[in-house]
Amino acid sequence: METQHFSYDNKIVKYFAYATILWGVVGMLVGLLAALQLALPIFNFKLAYTTFGRIRPIHTNAVIFAFVGNGIFTAVYYSLQRLLKTRMFSDKLSWVHFWGWQAIIVSAAITFVLGITTSKEYAELEWPIDIAITIIWVIFGWNMFGTILRRRADHLYVSIWFYIATFVTVAVLHIGNSIELPYSWMHSYPVYAGVQDALVQWWYGHNAVAFFLTTPYLGLMYYFLPKAANRPIYSYRLSIIHFWALIFLYIWAGPHHLLYTALPDWAQSLGVAFSIMLIAPSWGGMFNGLLTLRGAWDKVRDSATLKFMVVAVTAYGMSTFEGPMMSLKWVNSLTHYTDWTIAHVHIGALGWNGFLTFGMLYYLFPKMWKTKLYSEKLANTHFWLGTLGMIFYALPLYWGAVVQTLMWKEFTSDGFLAYPNFLETVTQIVPMYHARVLGGALYFIGLFLMVYNLLKTATKGSFVDNEKASAPALHSNPKRESGEGLHRWLERRPVQFMILATVAILIGGAFEIIPTYLIKSNIPTIDSVKPYTPLELQGRDIYIREGCNTCHSQMVRPFRSETERYGEYSKAGEFVYDHPHLWGSKRTGPDLAREGVPGGKMYKTNVWHYNHLLDPQKMNAQSIMPAYPWLIKDDLDISSTPAKIRAMTALGVPYDKEPYPANYDKIANDDLKKQAIEITEDLKKSGVDVTSDKEIIAVIAYLKRLGKDISTKK
């Protein structure tokens, strides 16, 4: 067999690695700011651009898609070439992929700061950026499959299966969840509403965790852990079984984010069942990773790379055990909406993704720069700071979550809520928010040491853009050889493999999504539920712009502790006109689903809302809510009203039916102004002088509408 000479593209790996580091620093710094804001609201700076509601999606997106995203590409571009003994398919595609992805990140940061968001968690980007992501993702896949088809190795190593599953599933998820109808060049409404929107969102949201944060990093683990430890994988057989089990099961688990909500019961139960089953394949991966180190544990003492990887895999095991536990309905009834969720995801993000990335970078830099790590001691310090940081981050939040959820549910012996004022339960745990800042800061200092260490390593060594390599040409027989097992044959046929992997995830998707489409008949319609008025619709879009839903849920669960606090529990039929749904996933502030019910437990007057939005601390000194003074200064943009009404009508909101007059979009602003004047006059009676064309009027109109539709009979 003749030997062929070629080179590995190291330059693209270097660029992705640098991008990983840069966005890691940015994303975690923004995270630190978000943590500070929850501890001390003064850090919202009373500026629209820097309030928590806008900062939080910047943090989550930067860490997930910028830091981990570039981490994935670093791992793929490095390991794929070597596992397949070939250069990447096309340098041009590699560079379009690199710069395209960075451009998407920058545009994401800019649009979030400006308040341009769809409100859907981890899918907040608006439609033009969604399209750009699709294009760049396809380019990535094209480059990857091109490389696979030109390989000189016969078999596809397990890491590559994980990469393929990642590519296919993320594409399906992203497109499925981003189907939206634009009404302007930067804004859109999702085609799904209410319960359907929530189900699709968490089908996406959960699997973004599964297929963006987990499967590619398992691929990374299966390549870099054996490398760093110089050990073969403990069990290749186990890797096969847990791969297929993982991608089959993960896709069904999404509804566990919606337990006790208005989602139909059967969908909730399905989500729980599959979440519990997920422990098996997840722990299969963890054991396979840890047992790969059997007989090599002495190396862990000396190598910072291995230390990071061991803790990463352990954190993976912890959070994949914790996740299924949190999916049990009774556990979820306690943990949901609390900081337990935040602690849980940070065990995954800081531990699994962060530490595995650091381990990979500490391995890659000396390797690619052909030198030793500048300082092993500094790397060890990083490791301990990072580990301590994680502990100081997570423990206070777990503790705070337990305290708060028990306070929410505590009744006096007379049957009243022990803590009827939501704020009391927040004030109680604010010290935990301070402690969390400390944890985050430690982790960040560690990261900073890594940046210094790696840059020093790079200046010390010499980098080769194109690393020379050679391998025998591949003469692959596409036909199954006699005695060759199906899977072994399959591993050699990447296209067939991709199709099977796609079928695997689509089956789960179909199970979850087909009923979603049919759900309309499952949702009992409620006659009294009416579309939003034009002013309320505008107010709702401001609510979305400011990210109010990051801290306020709109979903009263059917517990006595919740109906006592908030009012009637939420019904599926209430949300049929909610494009998008705004159920939320965290209660940093109280639930707002029944905020507008006259005489209800949550009801507030117009003037209360006005003063509260202007300066929450003036109303409640202990409040940690940011102030929104610009809502009072800025004029409401009513030029968008007709387009919004038209878009909503196209999505099935009956603005084109009785009692609405024909061509309602053209006269909707008349109704808007009328309602705005009513609110302004009421404010005037309470001594507040504001003109009716300000944004705050629309927000008040929306808040006063919440939950009102089904309350009138009382």
Partner: protein, 68 residues
């Protein structure tokens, strides 16, 4: 959305799809486990387990191969 659900609802017994898919999933998975435990595959798995280590010549492969 209205379009898609219209067509989906038009398929007779579409509710049966999920059950079929569950069955396919289950059978596929059982087949996978059977395959993974087939004796004749053992040598192949051993080879693949150290696949990531093999690609670079010059790494000390001798001590690895003796260990399993």
């Amino acid at each position: 959305m209205k379009l898609v659900s219209h067509y989906l609802q038009g398929i007779s017994d579409v509710g049966f799809f999920p059950s079929i898919s569950l069955l396919i999933f289950f059978l596929f998975f059982v087949g996978m486990i059977w395959w993974a435990y087939k004796k004749s595959n053992k040598a192949f798995f051993t080879k693949m387990a150290s696949y990531a280590l093999e690609e670079e010549e010059g790494t000390s492969s001798s001590n690895r191969n003796n260990n399993h």
